[in-house]
Each structure stands twice: as C-alpha cells, then as structure tokens.
C-alpha cells in the first residue's frame, strides 16, 4: 500500500463471537496530526485501538501501519509506537526510574544508554522530584504522566492514547493536554480515543465519530459542527414544549429532560425564551450537540 499516511484503514471489521465491534471503518492518519476517535462507551474505539497496536487481529478489511501489516509485522510496528493504555499498567513494586529502565529494555536499550532520555522525559513531565519514588506514592495524575513519559522512551513515530484523561481532575487534565500539545508542536503524531468533547475539541485536528462500530462522521471538529448543526441552540426544560410556538426555521430535538432548539440567529431563540426567565440557556453549538444529534443518545450512556 504506497501511502504517505501513518495508518490506513479500509472497511475494517472486528467480530467477537456474534457481536460486531467494528463494522466497516475507513480512515487514515497523516503524519504530524492529532487524530481522535470519539464515541460513547461500547462504540468500538478501544477495539480499533487494539487492532492498531497489534493486540487484536482484524476480522476483515485492510489495515496498514507505517505501511506494514499488523498481522505479519507486529514487532516492527510496535517498535515505532508509543502506547498509553486505558489503565495505568505500571510495575507497582519498583521505583519510577526502574519502571522506565525496564520498559526501555523491551525496546533493546541498555540502562546506561537510556538514562539521559529518562532524565529528559521526567523533566518534561515535571516528575524529576519523583525519580526514585515508589509508584504507590504517586497521585493518579502523576501515574498518568509517567505512563505517557514511558510511551515516549523510544521516540515513537506515533503516540497512541486510549482515554488519556479519564478519571483525572480538571487541573491534571489541562496539564496533560498542555503536554500533548507540546508534543504535537515537536512533530509527534497522536492518535487518541476519548469520550470527552472538550478533550476532542482541545487536541484533535480531525475526529472520527463512532457509534456501534460504525463511522458516523469524519472531519475537523469545527467543520463537523458547522456542517451538521445551526450555530445557536436554546435549551429548555422538556415540560415547556406545549407552551411554545416553533417556527419552521428552527430545528427541534429532545434529549433526556431537555429540549434543544437550533437556529441560525440568537434573536430568534431569545424571542421564544422570553417567558422562561431563569430556566433557559442560549449558547453556540458544539461537539456535544453534534454527538447527541448523530448518536441520538447521551455520550456517557453505555449499552
């Protein structure tokens, strides 16, 4: 497959018994971009990830990473990847530095050879003071940063992060985003999964919106929103539905206990909202709205 893409997937399929986790997915990842898989729990994001980092052989279709077939060249591919899995799979009984030394050994580095790189990465992730700490002494955010540092030991051509900030508090999340953006400016290609809209918006150049193993939409975040939605939305309690008149220019959707009215102008929405002081919100539309529209259900709802 002659290509300038790092990842090339065509009609990718994965079955587990009679459940189809990935169902005919097409995409490619270009060098230097940050590409995101966005979808609710059970959308097939992690399965796609596992196929890319060679944990899971594909059930059908074509997949090439660095132009190589993961079924045949798993070691060669993984030699050039940095993988940050969903769980912090560190060795709990040894120190931060020992964790990095041992992991670099899997890539064939000697401890002496890798030490400057370890120092550099600990500094980059602001973990220098923890170099000789045990893993159990680290906070959740520090562990995550260490796992990311570990994934950078081999100067990967592609950094893969599976839900990098799930379960972390907002400060830590912003710190990790800052580090990932810094890596991007250094030219590292990033592939991540997330179910946080904010994360997708902050980091991703392009997004693949997935649900039930299928691609719903693919493109730049702002384009996806622009192409699918009006720019303004009014949120009202669903009980008010009978009290309002909806002009034909307005698009109406109901999700949970809320009514969403989409329009091209805020003034049109203000007119409708007037009688409901303190009970409404008018804002610009974003990925969250797009997601609700595409999947017809809340992001964090699992099946």
């Amino acid at each position: 497959m002659p290509t300038d893409s790092l990842i090339e997937a065509r009609q990718l399929v994965k079955n587990y018994d009679d459940f189809r986790a990935v169902d005919g997915v097409d995409f490619h990842v270009r060098p230097g971009e940050c590409f995101g898989f966005l979808g609710p729990n059970g959308a097939g994001k992690s399965t796609l990830m596992k196929m890319i980092y060679c944990f899971s052989p594909r059930g059908g279709g074509e997949l090439s990473i660095f132009g190589l077939d993961p079924d045949k060249k798993a070691s060669e591919i993984k030699n050039r990847l940095g993988v940050v899995a969903q769980t912090d799979n560190l060795d709990e009984d040894i120190t931060v530095t020992q964790n990095l030394q041992i992991y670099s050994g899997y890539f064939g580095f000697s401890r002496k050879q890798i030490q400057p790189k370890i120092d550099e990465l600990l500094a980059f992730m602001s973990l220098e003071s923890k170099a000789h700490a045990g893993i159990r002494q680290l906070s959740g955010g520090m562990k995550r940063r260490l796992v990311i540092a570990r994934a950078l030991l081999n100067d990967p051509d592609l950094l893969i992060l599976d839900e990098p900030t799930t379960g972390l508090d907002p400060q830590v999340r912003h710190l990790i985003w800052a580090k990932l953006r810094e890596l991007k400016t250094q030219g590292v290609t990033i592939l991540l999964t997330t179910h946080y809209m904010e994360e997708a918006q902050e980091l991703c150049d392009r997004l693949l919106v997935l649900d039930k193993g299928k691609v719903l939409s693919l493109g730049r975040p702002e384009e996806l929103v622009k192409n699918n939605l009006h720019p303004y939305v009014l949120e009202l309690p669903v009980a008010k539905k009978s009290e309002i008149q909806i002009p034909p220019s307005i698009q109406l959707e109901t999700h949970g206990d809320k009514l969403f009215l989409f329009s091209d102008t805020p003034s049109e929405l203000e007119k409708i909202a007037l009688p409901f002081q303190g009970q409404f919100r008018i804002r610009t539309t974003g990925l969250e709205d797009l997601f609700l529209k595409l999947t017809g259900r809340d992001l964090h709802e699992s099946e």
């Binding site: 587990y16 052989p57 070691s75 030699n79 799979n89 560190l90 050994g105 899997y106 064939g108």
Partner: protein, 262 residues
C-alpha cells in the same frame, strides 16, 4: 523530537532477557517476604516429619528416612515457587495489574513474555533448591558431591511446573478456582511422585501412572545426585528432564498467545 531513523528490532534473546530482568527486579524489591516461606517450608518439613517419622520409619528404600526425603524437599521448593508464581502471579499480572499489556505494547510479543517468565521461574527454582540443599547439608543428609547439580534439576522442575501454572492461569475464571489447581493437581503430583515413599510401594497400576507424572523423574534424579546411588533410570530421566519442561512450556506459551491476542 525529529523523525527518527528506524531503530533495529531487539533480538528474541534480548527481549526475553529484558522480561527476565523485569521479574528479577520486581522480585528483588520484596526478596525477604517472598523467599521466607519457600525456605522455611522444607525446613519445617524436615524437622517435623523427618525427626518425628524418621525413627518410626527407620530405613526407606535402603537409606535412612531423612536421606530419602531430603532431595524431594529441594524439588518441592522448586515446585511451590514456580507453580504459585505462574498461576496466582500470572493471574494478577494479567487481570489486575495489566503488566502484560504494558510488555506487549513494545516490540516484545507474547512468546518473549512467557519464555522470559518461564526462564525466570526456572532461575527461582534453581535458587531455592540450592538454598534447600545448602540448609539440608547441615543435617548430614547429603551424601554425594553430585548434589551440586540438584539446583539445575530444580531449574527444569520449575520450568515444567511454571508451565502447568500458566495453563491454570489461562483456564481459571476467577481466583478461587486456583484451589482446584493447587489441591487437585499440585498436591497429588507431589505426594505420588516418590517424595515421602518410593512409588514401588504403590499398587502396580498406580505405580506405573506415578512414574508418568512430571515430577517423578525430577525427584528420582535428585535422589541419585544427593546419595550418589545411580540407577539405570538415569538414561530415561536425563533426556526427560531436558525435554519435557520445554514441551510443556511451548504448549503453555501457545495457550497464553490465544488468551492475550484476541
């Protein structure tokens, strides 16, 4: 980070030794807690069963009873350390700590992971049977300089029983099911393999079965080495202990491949 030139893949041996080193490092940090029971167990056994029973039993198979059970103690140390390490230990690394996911997201594959682990468990078998032989030598139950080779038998024993542990780790649905493995597999293997009495004392059919059990020849050879009394069994036992652990290992590694790559 500029686009780097493509680094060469590490060799199989390099990756296996990196895995070996990981286990060594992790184990080393809890060395005394981990090794205490393995050393104490045969010591208690030899004191209690040996002193208590030895006078009642008198001689066994033409030797005093302590001499008879001493080599079996070294093998039991190898069996216990490997069977537990590769069953409970593997289960925790797989299901709780997710260590294998970390290892195989590098150039290391499942084969390297588990051969490295089996070699490491073999090393532990070597070390603990060495410790047991050294300790027992103070009791005057080691009668031949050939006993220095017993730790190497311990190595192969541990690879074999580590492989059985891996099968168990692959098969169990939850941690409680390891009881079947320890009580149902490991304990009978130990009791019926010539540890406490010669298998010839068993009914003929049972005795034939006992000689086919994986542990029998390991104990048989160890006993030849600690007593210096070699029998023609040696011609079966040596090829057996060099080959069988690695056949079991190959099946175990293959089975872990099916478990981890889905």
């Amino acid at each position: 980070m500029s686009p780097n030139k493509i680094r060469q893949l590490p060799t199989f041996a390099r990756m296996v030794s990196a895995i070996w080193y990981r286990h060594y490092r992790v184990y080393q940090n809890n060395f005394w807690t981990n090794s205490f029971p393995t050393v104490l167990e045969p010591l208690i056994f030899i004191l209690a069963v040996g002193w208590g029973l030895a006078s009642a039993v008198g001689t066994m198979d033409g030797m005093d009873y302590l001499t008879f059970i001493a080599p079996a103690q070294a093998m039991m140390a190898a069996v216990y350390t490997s069977a537990f390490e590769e069953s409970y230990g593997t289960y925790f690394r797989m299901m709780v700590d997710h260590n294998y996911d970390a290892m195989i997201s590098t150039p290391v594959g499942v084969n390297e992971v588990f051969w490295g682990e089996l070699l490491y468990t073999g090393t532990k078998g070597w070390f603990f049977s060495l410790v047991v032989i050294v300790v027992l030598s103070f009791f005057g139950v080691i009668h031949s300089a050939w006993a220095v080779l017993v730790p190497f038998v311990g190595f192969f024993t541990a690879v074999a029983f580590g492989s059985l542990g891996l099968f168990a780790a692959r098969l169990v649905k939850n941690i409680n099911q390891f009881n079947f493995f320890i009580t149902g597999v490991i304990s009978p293997l130990i009791l019926f393999s010539g540890t406490l009495f010669p298998v010839d004392k068993l009914p003929p059919v049972v005795s034939i079965v006992a000689k086919m059990l994986p542990l029998y020849y390991f104990i048989d050879v160890s006993r030849m080495l600690t007593t210096g009394r070699f029998t023609s069994d040696l011609y079966i036992a040596v090829p057996y202990l060099l080959v069988v652990p690695f056949i079991l290992g190959a099946f175990a590694v293959n089975s872990m491949n099916k478990k981890l790559i889905q």
